[in-house]
């Protein structure tokens, strides 16, 4: 089945509406809602919850690396998006709905439950398919979400020692001090 960007976005957006009307009758579930630890600036509670699930699937606990949620990755992405153009925010929101949506999930992956209700291995399996999909829009969505989540995760100083990053060289702080740059 050949899907272009317009059709996929249509599935994502129209799918949400269809599901909200018919989902109950079809036995389909809504998004598994997670409460944010900080007030949201850009995303709705539902969008945050989808992002929360995606972030934890992309960056799961892998000792010694902590899971995304412990570093508040979804909150970080929400904050990153706040000053961005409305078009950018809309695209990311559409991407989140597209991943979550059971109707597009059914068309693309034969799944009937939202992404947030899948087990972690199933979520990761699906994201792997988005990553290497022959449909360019799916690769675009994956890249956008993977990059945003990775940036928010590795911005945390808690990851620095885990990647061998020892921080800015001490002598630079001394030079700044000597130059009166405070």
């Amino acid at each position: 089945m050949k899907l272009n960007r317009r059709k996929l976005v249509k599935y994502g957006l129209a799918g949400s509406a269809v599901l909200s009307l018919a989902g109950f009758g079809l036995g389909l579930q809504g998004t598994k809602i997670i409460a944010s630890q900080t007030p949201l600036q850009t995303l709705s509670e539902q969008e945050y919850s989808i992002l929360y699930a995606i972030a934890n699937a992309l960056l799961p606990e892998t000792p010694p690396f902590p899971a995304a949620h412990t570093l508040q990755v979804a909150e970080g992405v929400d904050k990153t998006l706040a000053p961005r153009a409305p078009e950018v925010q809309t695209e990311i929101k559409q991407a989140l709905h597209l991943v979550e949506n059971a109707l597009s999930g059914f068309v693309l992956e034969m799944r009937t439950v939202p992404f947030t209700s899948l087990s972690l291995p199933k979520q990761q399996q699906e994201l792997a398919q988005w990553r290497t999909s022959s449909i360019q829009l799916r690769r675009k969505v994956f890249k956008a979400l993977n990059s945003l989540c990775s940036a928010a995760y590795f911005a945390s100083p808690k990851t620095h020692s885990l990647v061998g990053y020892d921080g800015p060289p001490a002598h630079i702080w001394e030079i700044r001090k000597a130059m009166g740059i405070q």
Partner: protein, 511 residues
């Protein structure tokens, strides 16, 4: 003080001046300093914030948020190419990696032959090159001071017998921190913030920061005024305060993406040339893993280059090789894997070298590059299709970088494909042959944006002439990388500084 930030701009107002320069980067600042010295009343608009060394705390997230276009998220419309471009006072010179080259002779010759830019000879430009080199202290870095990341490139080239050279950098008192891309923390970088801008400000130039030029209003022959909006730096949204700048001469110096977008918002596109032939020096990369620490986040980001493959024959796109600094956000967001694979990669971050191949787009006669257009809200939209010519070059570049990494002693080299290729010996190089190349098949990024408002002799093929003056609007100039009719095949900042200095007399002579 003649620096005005959003917090100072609480009421809309009219402003008059001799010259209004839109953009404070490599194009705008040398020109501003020169015009102020000639006694002209200069106003400069900068959409970004006024950030100085005290704000440059070597924090990658903070730097991306405050110093880069779209908070570091600027990309082509298909998200296939990440575009790194500065957005603060000083423009990209505040965050570039300080690599300087004179415009290659081969490129100037090409511009003369293909675009009729006969005045732009090495001889004509030589005094401006020299002046820029003096003012910005552009000098060769030393091989000994190269960091381990750059020494990988050097060692690989030497082992393979490939050309390599030590780069020139615009620094003075550099302490080899490795944080050039986050704003120099000790003012060693001789970017616009520490050189031409203070000169212009001391001479009386007024600098309006957080002020975005919305449109230029003009007749068919004269640019009349600029309408600009003050932007709240926290929300990145207009505050409602507007500036109406009436200027005898208007200069677009806001770069090769925002400049064409400004022209399009202003309806200055009668020949349908604006935004076309946008070149970005598309970059592909591999990561080479070593047993010993590389610590590619420390030390001058770029100090060695190789132009071994810049001339690959008339029917191919050439590329040159440099390195990229290895900070955790930029690296992690570029690695296309996730889960355990990403963690495994990132756990080796301090043992990774990142080698990059930078493609010289637009030089091949069939290579038309990309296009800048605008969305319904006026935002720049960048489309850059990856042509078969470029795909071929990307494939060769991956093979070349893999060969280089192994020759330098890497125990393993990774491509940054959506399905990464890992190689450990020369026989594995053929694995790169089997991969797909193009948008969203692997990581592509750009740190050099050029073209979109090209210069040339023919008004039907170009937007400005060799004096950077608009072909039909006599008091409108473009002074930045958007005038390049092709890419350069070298890092572009010095060419922009040079053209900017050359434009001083042209513009001053109008008064």
């Amino acid at each position: 003080m003649n620096i005005f930030e959003a917090k100072d701009l609480t009421h809309s107002k009219d402003i008059s001046c001799d010259v209004c320069i839109i953009g404070s980067g490599a194009g705008g600042s040398p020109l501003a300093a020169g015009l102020v010295e000639k006694g002209l009343n200069v106003v400069m608009l900068e959409a970004g914030s006024y950030q100085t060394a005290k704000n440059f705390r070597m924090n990658e997230a903070e730097a991306l948020r405050n110093l880069y276009q779209e908070g570091g998220l600027r990309a082509t419309s298909d998200l296939g190419i990440t575009i790194l471009q500065g957005k603060s006072v000083g423009g990209s010179t505040t965050i570039n990696w300080t690599t300087c080259f004179r415009t290659p002779e081969k490129i100037l010759t090409l511009w003369q032959k293909r675009f009729g830019l006969f005045p732009l000879t090495s001889e004509e430009l030589s005094p401006y090159f020299q002046e820029v080199e003096r003012r910005l202290n552009i000098r060769p870095w030393s091989e000994e001071a190269a960091n381990a990341n750059n020494k990988v490139l050097l060692r690989g080239c030497k082992t393979l017998g490939w050309e390599s050279s030590v780069l020139k950098r615009n620094v003075n008192g550099c302490a080899n921190s490795g944080y050039c891309g986050m704003g120099c923390p000790i003012n060693a970088k001789q970017g616009m913030l520490t050189t031409y801008l203070p000169e212009a400000l001391n001479g009386g130039m007024r600098l309006f920061c957080n002020t975005r030029a919305d449109r230029v209003e003009s007749s068919t022959t004269r640019a009349e005024r600029i309408l600009a909006s003050v932007i709240d730096p926290k929300t990145n949204r207009p505050t409602g305060v507007r500036l109406n700048i009436k200027s005898k001469v208007i200069v677009s110096a806001c770069g090769a993406i925002n400049g064409p977008a400004l022209f399009l918002r202003s309806g200055l596109n009668d020949k349908n040339l604006v935004g076309k032939r946008t070149f970005i020096h598309p970059v592909v990369a591999i990561a080479a893993q070593f047993d010993e620490p590389i610590n590619g986040f420390h030390g001058a980001p770029q100090s060695i280059s190789s132009h071994q493959f810049i001339n690959r024959g008339a029917d191919k796109i050439g590329f040159f090789m440099e390195t990229a600094p290895i900070h955790s956000i930029l690296t992690s967001s570029s690695v296309p894997t996730f889960g355990k694979d990403k963690m495994q990669f990132m756990s080796q971050l301090n043992h990774m070298s990142v080698l990059i191949a930078i493609h010289s787009d637009g030089v091949h006669p069939d290579d038309v590059g990309g296009t800048v257009s605008i969305t319904s809200s006026g935002r720049p939209k960048i489309d850059y299709p990856i042509s078969p010519l470029l795909k071929e070059a990307f494939r060769e570049a991956h093979k070349t970088l893999g060969t280089l990494g192994l020759a330098a002693g890497a125990k393993r080299c990774y491509s940054l494909h959506t399905n990464p290729v890992s190689i450990e010996k020369n026989d594995d190089i053929s694995l790169f042959e089997q991969q797909k190349y193009g948008s969203l098949e692997h990581i592509i990024f750009s740190a050099h944006q050029m073209g979109g408002l090209p210069m040339g002799k023919d008004p039907n093929q170009s937007v400005v002439n060799s004096d950077l003056r608009h072909h039909s609007i006599e008091n409108l100039f473009v002074v930045d990388g958007s005038v390049f009719p092709t890419s350069l095949g070298v890092n572009p900042s010095q060419t922009i500084y040079t053209l900017s200095l050359r434009a001083v007399n042209t513009i001053a002579n109008l008064f």
